[in-house]
Every structure is written in C-alpha cells, then in structure tokens.
C-alpha cells in the first residue's frame, strides 16, 4: 500500500484546506454574534472626556457600528480579501483599524503580537515536551517508586496551580530576589525563559502522565520482553523501543496543546508583560474593540486548522499504520 499513501496524504491536505473557509466562516459568525452582544460603545472612553455626541454618532457611521449586518459583510469581505479581488477595496486581508487604538490597524497589532505569542507558545511546548517526556519516562520505568510519586505530585501541582500564582512566585524569587531574569517585557532569551516555563507547566504535567502511562504499558509488552531477552540494556530498550510507542498519544495531544499554548497564554502574557496577541485580545474583548476581536479570531481559527493539519501529517510519518 506504499503507493497509495502519498495520494491519501494529498487528499487529506486538500480536504482540510477545502474545509478551512467553512470552519473559519462559522467561527467568524459565532464570534461576531458574541462580540456584538457585549454591552458598551468602543468609541467612548471608559474614563475621562466625552467627545460631543455628534462626533460619536459620525464615528459610529464611519465604522458601520450602527448597522450590524452591513458591518458583518463589509468586514468579512475586507478581511477575506474578497473585496480586494472584486476591486472594491485597495488591500487584501485588511482586518480594519482598531476601534480603541486609532493609531493601529489590526494587521499591525497582529504582526507585532503574533511572532511574540508564537515564540512564547512554541517555546513552552518544547519545554513541556522535554520536561514531560523525561518525567514520564523516569516515572513509567519505576512505577510506584519514590521518584515516580514525586513526579506525579509535581504533575498534579503543574496542572492545578494557576499560572498567575506560579508566574508571580517565579518573578518574585528568580527575578526580583535573585536578579537572574528581567521582570516583564520582551526582547532576548532572558525574557523568554520565565514566561515560557510558566506556560509550559500544565502541558508538561499532562505529557508526563501520558508518557508514564504509555511506558508502563509498553514495558510489559511482548516485543519489549523479546528485546530484553536479547540482552539489550534496560535503558536502551526503554528509549529505543518503548518510548517510541509511548510517545504516540503525546503526538496527538500536541496539536490542540500547541493551539492552546498559542491562544491561551493571555494570563502568562499579563503577568510577565509579554506584548503578545493574548493580552491584546482580552483587552479587545473587554473594550468591545470589535475589529480587533474579529481579526484575532479569524487569524487564530485559520492557524488552528493549519496546526491540526500539520500534526495529522506528522502522525503519518511517525506511525505509517494510519493511512
């Protein structure tokens, strides 16, 4: 069946890419309804001066905030590039101006924030993989041992402690008291370590549990016993044979985990003052900055589909049984 595999892979990619616009449209519509129903007016300042009512009214007209249906189609056309294709708009993929920050377009906000969030999220996933696999393997090789108990307790802590608690504690200890890392901000590897580590913990904990369980199961399997019987050292068997299979559930977890790490990092971004999309998005929701919210959601929905696709493709390489 080796000849059929590439064509099925192409088929998968084509199928997913055909689904993409429908998934994104559904997400767009749902978000639009939710974002529109948030009370308040994005053109009014939460504190301070009020512009004359004529001005608020005129701005509302300009941004089509007085007409949800017109806004829905206008924004969709501009953001998807359709308006550009038919010649009704001068730029493709225009996610509009931010309603709250008139000096910034949503495209600019995303282009400065997205690399930051991606760096943070992917660093966190890599750290989580390193910690999770190491802890899971050690625990899984000696289930019930004190080391296993310790890693299990740490895993529970990693899952259940909120990241703002861990983040603040790390900041206090490693940055303020010991001065090893800068407090908050972005730019260079020293700024990445603490937020990425904090963000990685829940993922690391989950991965370690997946790996541990897989290892326990694998180490009892026939082919492992055969390998051991051939006289291979225990560590070699564990790493070369058992871990490979124990890792498979981790791989399928990585797709959604990466998506969550990229989108769900707003708490960590707030605590460490990381200028990523997560905190811009939350500020956008709170301020009813509809264009910003819609733009972020559109981009993230697209990314999410692409990531899941990437993981599925990767899966086929690692485990050719799935076809």
């Amino acid at each position: 069946m080796s000849g059929a595999q590439p064509s099925s892979l192409t088929g998968l990619v084509v199928r997913r890419l055909l689904q993409l616009p429908f998934i994104v449209l559904a997400v767009y519509t749902l978000t639009f309804i939710l974002a529109w129903s948030v009370p308040g007016n994005p053109l009014e300042n939460p504190e301070g001066r009020r512009p004359p009512p004529e001005i608020v009214e005129a701005m509302q007209k300009q941004y089509k905030l007085d007409d949800p249906v017109a806004f829905y189609f206008d924004y969709l056309g501009k953001a998807s590039g359709v308006s550009w294709l038919v010649g009704a708009h001068d730029t493709p993929f225009d996610l509009g101006p931010s309603l709250k920050q008139p000096d910034w377009s949503v495209n600019e906000i995303l282009s400065t924030g997205l690399p930051v969030s991606m760096t943070l999220g992917l660093s966190a996933i890599l750290i989580a993989l390193a910690i999770g696999i190491a802890a899971g393997t050690i625990g899984g090789l000696r289930p019930g041992s004190p080391v296993d108990a310790l890693t299990q307790v740490l895993a529970i802590a990693g899952i259940s402690l909120p990241s703002f608690v861990i983040g603040s504690a790390l900041l206090m200890l490693l940055a303020v008291k010991l001065g090893l890392f800068p407090v908050g901000g972005w730019g260079g590897i020293s700024y990445v370590v603490l937020p990425a580590f904090t963000l990685s913990l829940p993922f690391a904990a989950y991965i370690s549990r997946l790996v541990r369980f897989g290892m326990i199961e694998e180490m009892g399997a026939d082919h492992i016993r055969t390998a051991r019987a051939k006289g291979l050292p225990r560590w070699k068997v564990a790493l070369k044979h058992a871990l490979k299979n124990a890792f498979l559930p981790v791989l399928s977890y990585l797709g959604p985990a990466t998506a969550v790490a990229l989108t769900g990092s707003f708490v960590v971004e707030k605590v460490f003052a990381v200028p990523g999309v997560g905190q811009h998005f939350v500020d956008g929701v709170l301020g009813k900055d509809i264009t910003l919210v819609m733009g972020v959601v559109l981009v993230y929905a697209t990314l999410m589909v692409v990531f899941n696709l990437a993981v599925d493709v990767l899966y086929r390489f690692v485990d050719p049984r799935i076809a």
Partner: protein, 639 residues
C-alpha cells in the same frame, strides 16, 4: 526517530526569532506605565499619560513651566492680548523647527486647530476650541453639511470634494483664526478667556506637520468625510516639533523617544533618550520597579501603595531632623531626601504620593425622576445636603482609602489655581444632617428605624452604584452605605457593575448615588465648575439649575481676573453648601515610584504636569544646565 528533525528545525527557528528580537539599547530614562498611548495624534488624545508624552513630542504656542505652572514662551516667543481681552496675537520664534528641519509656521497651527474643530477628526477635546469666534458655527455648519450629504443619495468623489471646498471657504469666512504671515497667528474669541494661554499650552492645541498628515488623509466619497489613515503617527513618518521624536513604537510594548536635533531649546533637554515600557499588570509593574529596571513608575499598583508609603514614612521619621535641616537650607524636597543616608530594610524612599489635580466624589442623581418614572428623593437639595453631612470623610481616609488623602468639601483642589481662594463646603455634622432630612419631610414616624414622609411612605432604598474597576470604589460605597444607614436611618444597597455597564447606567441616570471623579484639564476653576452646567456632556448628575447657569455665566464674563476668580469661588461655595449636586470626598493622591537620588526634576505643583524633558539623574541635569548656559551665551553674538 523521524520526529527529531522537525523538532530541531523548530528549536532553531525559535532561537533565531528570539535572537532577532533584541531589546533596545539602554535609554537615559526608563518610564514604566500602565497603558500604552492610544494615539500620538495631539488633536485626538485625551488620557493623562498621552498628554504627558505629547508635551515633549510637540511644542505648543506657550508652555506651562512644570515647577509652578506659569505660562512661559514655547513656539511663540511673545504675544499680546487686545484691551477687550478677545483678540490674541502670537509671534512665533524664527528658530522653531520640525524634526525634519522645516520651520514651524503659523499655518501649521491654523491647520492643526482646523483639524480639531472639524467634526471629521473626532477630537475628544474639540469642545475647548468652540470658544474661538465662529468655531461653533463652523462645527455646526460642517455637521449639517455631512448630514445632508448622507441624505442626498450616493456620494461621488466630485460631490465630496465640492462639499469639502465649501467647508474650507466657510472656515475661512467664519472662524477667527488667521495667519497673516508665517510667524504671526491671530485668534479672536467669543468671550474673554483669561486662561486662554492655558488652552494654548494644552497638547490638543499643538501644531501638526501639514504635509505629513495630508499624505495620510483623504476624502471618503460615500460620506464626504475627511478620513485619516493612522500611519502618520508612527516613527519613520511622524514629524514633531518638540523636545523629542519617537523612533520606536511597538504596540503595548515600548516606545523610544530620542532628543529632537532640530528643537530650538535642545540644550535644556536632560535625558537624551527615554524608554516607555507598558506593563499593564500592576503587580508586575511594581516588581519591575523593585528590580531596578525603571527610573519612574508612573502608577504604583493599588495593593502596594499604602504599605510602600508607610515604609517611606518610617524612613523619613528616622531622619526627621536631618531632613528638616536640609529643607531649611533651601534644598527641594527630593534633593533633601536624596541627601539622607540610604534606607535600610523595612524603609524606602523610592516612592512618593502627591495630591493630584483631581477630586474623588460620589454623584447624586439630581433628576426629578428615576428611570421608570419613580420619584427621586435626591431631586431635593435638602436630602442631598443631609447625605453629604452624614459622611465622615476623615474616617473614610483613615480606614478605607488609606493614602492620607486631603479631605475636601468642594471640587477645585486647594492651591492648584493661583489667585483662587479656598472655598469651604459641607463638613461632617450628623445632627444637622438629620435636621436637613427632617426639613425635607423625612423622619422616622412609626419607630421602625427607617424614615418616612408625611404620607407614611418609607424613604426608597438608596441605590448606590459603583464600578468594579477598583476595590477602592466598592470599599467606599460600602462604608458610606453604613454611615447613611446609621446616621440617617435609611435603607441602602450597593450595586457594583463592570465599568462599561456602570457607564451605561450613569448615562441613563439609573442610580441614586454613583461613584464619580474628575481631573482638571486647565488652570481655571471652570474646568471643574462647568461640569454642573445644564447640558454639559460630563454632567452625569443631570443637575440643572438656571440660577447656577446664570451665576457662572455672569462670573465668567467679568474681565478683571481677580474679581472673576472671586465670583467663581462664590459659585463654588453656593454649589457645595446649598445645592450639593455631588459629594466631594478627597483629592486624589497620585503615587509615583522613583528614587530621588537617581531621578530628579519631578514637579510638586498640585497640577502635577510633569515635564519629561527635565527628568534625569543629578549628573544628567547638571550637564544639561551647563549646556543650556553655554547655548544661551553665544546666541547673543553669533547670528
């Protein structure tokens, strides 16, 4: 394992991404702020931290000297006022330059002020420009014109252009701003404004570089509106005429200002570069400051203020005699603190609270009826007086807000406006409060512990609205509720709402008593007293009294400045002893984090208009001082 290859690639890509995103080189001054600027367009900004940055990015006709808020020359080297106080003529200095070397001309001001008046620009402060003769008529003309355009069917570029040309002709005819030559600007006002220079020093009155802004502005054919693309305020495009030019601005991350080489007074600029970092989380802001990363933390998180200020008090207590000796030898407060030995554990000197140009208050709903037609007991001034008299503000400061704020019974902070007398409002007097309530017809007739009116109806449960944005408002609301229950025998309930919903309720008048607060914009009592005028856009109380409107109108038309201020003080006294549309509690305290041994040049003036170009280490300040002296001398000789 085949998965190793993508992982290694990913690691390499990440390391490259991190390595490419370097931090900026160190700046002379690092400022940590709670929020980034929403805009660098001076005509559209309205937040304090934006205005503070704008003051050093743009230079207005005149400047307010930070130390005492006196008006000093800016782009204008001198100016005259006509005897009737209505016409102002400004003479611009020859060496005022934009950061690209272009001269700053009167046409730049005319262009910027026209932007501010045009409804198209959506300037929050456009109201301040409407005191210029003809500006209101022009604003209404353009608003009407745009409405008619909208109603007149599909727009075309030609129609939009024709409308715009009409509007420009109307502006030239109607609005009394003239630029007879490149270095003269003549402005006529609707009525005499003794504080007009204060307006002129306010960033919305700053000039903008016409060519740059025009390149990002176009007419929208569909609405005939002038539409502006945001790009012109970005480093690389932005041309400024102030002490600094922004060279980097990354959204909600950082902004770098570098000294403007074309600024006429560049020698006096202390810090040659300033970094602003945005740290929204108040805890992280304080931790960043504690780690030494910031020279100035402009907003210390509420959870830390009280404790940190307590540590400062402990420090000053220990060196009280040395501090007093240093002060009496003529040192400024911060210099005197810097001269003391460094603090030990449990003490600190890198924090300071200042009384701000702002007043914390609770609003009474003064409308005749509440939404839904329910009668509103607070429409009666006697009831408002009773509620005001039964609040023990000193107790609130001691137990609730705990920042040692100055208690007040009026709006205008004492000493903030030169020549304005201190006005006394109502104090704490529960006896009189009960008498006032009784005089309004409310007393406990059946002995159930709640007051009733003559018809036996109970006083409606007092609905106290606050925003959940800060625990301060909740704590204040709860404490005052208990005071009113105890002193006045009324039922009261607090209603906390998210700031957006709170704002909606305020606008609809859906409250009896609501959290309020105000910061003054300019150095005249009207920045406070106009709030109570009928129909004022910020009059959340719905207070309307023709008598007050008449008093303010009469007071503001007095030409003699001293007499005018006395008359305004009388308005304020009447407002806060008789009418009491709102219940002032205290002046806000602004808490800055900075070490006076490292950062000097902070203004102590009650308006707290900090001039960023004056802040720096003692060594930086001394260097700027000598450079300024050196620059001042040869300019007499060399043409």
């Amino acid at each position: 394992m085949r998965i190793a290859a993508p992982v290694i690639l990913l690691v390499l890509a990440l390391l490259a991404a991190i390595a490419l995103d370097r931090p900026l080189p160190p700046a002379d001054l690092v400022v940590v702020e709670r929020s980034d600027c929403y805009t660098l367009d001076p005509q559209r900004m309205s937040y304090q931290h934006e205005l503070r940055r704008a003051r050093v990015i743009y230079e207005t006709l005149v400047n307010l000297r930070a130390s005492d808020c006196e008006v000093v020359p800016g782009v204008a080297e001198r100016w005259e006022r006509s005897p009737d106080g209505l016409t102002w003529t400004f003479h611009l200095r020859a060496d005022a330059k934009w950061s690209n070397g272009d001269p700053v001309t009167s046409a730049d001001f005319l262009y910027a002020w026209r932007r501010a008046i045009l409804p198209d620009t959506a300037a929050d402060y456009s109201g301040l420009f409407l005191d210029i003769r003809g500006a209101r008529a022009f604003f209404e003309f353009r608003t009407r014109q745009l409405k008619e355009y909208d109603a007149g069917g599909a727009g075309t570029p030609e129609r939009a252009q024709a409308a715009w040309d009409d509007a420009m002709r109307a502006f030239d005819e109607m609005v009394a701003i003239d630029a007879p030559d490149a270095r003269t600007l003549v402005v006529a006002l609707e009525r005499p404004l003794p504080y007009f220079l204060d307006y002129c020093a306010f960033p919305p009155f700053a000039p903008v570089h016409e060519r740059t802004v025009d390149a990002f502005t176009s007419l929208d054919a569909a609405s005939a509106r002038l539409v502006q693309r945001h790009g012109w305020t970005k480093p690389g495009h932005l041309v400024t005429n102030g002490a600094y030019v922004p060279t980097t601005w990354r959204y909600k991350r950082d902004m770098r200002l570098e000294a403007n080489p074309h600024y006429w007074n560049r020698a006096a600029v202390v810090a040659k570069s300033i970094d602003f970092r945005t740290i929204e989380n108040p805890n992280t802001g304080v931790l960043s400051f504690e780690s030494g990363a910031a020279d100035w933390l402009t907003d210390v998180g509420p959870e830390y203020k009280t404790e940190m200020l307590g540590e400062r008090r402990a420090y000053l207590e220990r060196y009280r005699s040395e501090f007093e000796a240093a002060m009496s030898s003529g040192l400024l407060h911060d210099e005197a603190v810097a001269a003391l030995p460094p603090p030990v554990a449990g003490e600190r000197r890198n924090i300071r609270g200042f009384d701000a140009f702002g007043t914390d208050f609770f609003s009474f709903n003064c409308r005749p009826a509440l939404p839904g037609g329910k009668t509103n007991p607070f429409h009666d001034a006697a009831v408002r007086r009773a509620f005001a008299l039964s609040v023990d503000k000193a107790e609130l400061i001691k137990r609730v807000t705990r920042l040692n704020e100055r208690v007040t019974g009026t709006l205008v902070p004492v000493g903030s406006i030169a020549g304005y007398p201190e006005v006394e409002g109502l104090g704490f007097d529960p006896e009189r409060a009960r008498a006032e309530l009784k005089s309004a017809g409310w007393e406990d007739r059946d002995g159930d512990g709640i007051v009733e009116n003559a018809r036996g109806e109970r006083f409606p449960t007092v609905d106290i609205l606050y925003s959940t944005a800060s625990p301060r408002y909740q704590n204040l609301a709860l404490a005052m509720r208990d005071m009113w229950k105890r002193e006045l025998r009324v039922a009261a309930e607090c209603r906390g709402k998210d700031s957006k919903l709170y704002k909606e309720d305020l606008k609809k008048g859906n409250f009896m008593i609501a959290r309020g607060g105000w910061y003054g914009d300019y150095g005249d009592p009207t920045t406070w007293l106009d709030l109570q005028r009928t129909g004022n856009g910020n009059n959340d109380r719905g207070y309307s009294n023709p008598e007050y409107d008449r008093m303010i109108e009469a007071a503001t038309s007095i030409v003699d400045p001293a007499e005018r201020l006395r008359a305004l003080a009388e308005c304020e006294r009447w407002l806060f002893t008789v009418e009491v549309p709102l219940l002032p509690l205290c002046n806000y305290v602004t808490v800055y984090g900075y070490d006076p041994a490292r950062t000097q040049g902070m203004s102590e003036h009650p308006r707290l208009e900090q001039d960023l170009s004056l802040l720096g280490t003692p060594a930086q300040r001394a260097a700027a001082k000598s450079a300024e002296d050196a620059a001042a001398k040869p300019s007499e000789v060399v043409p």
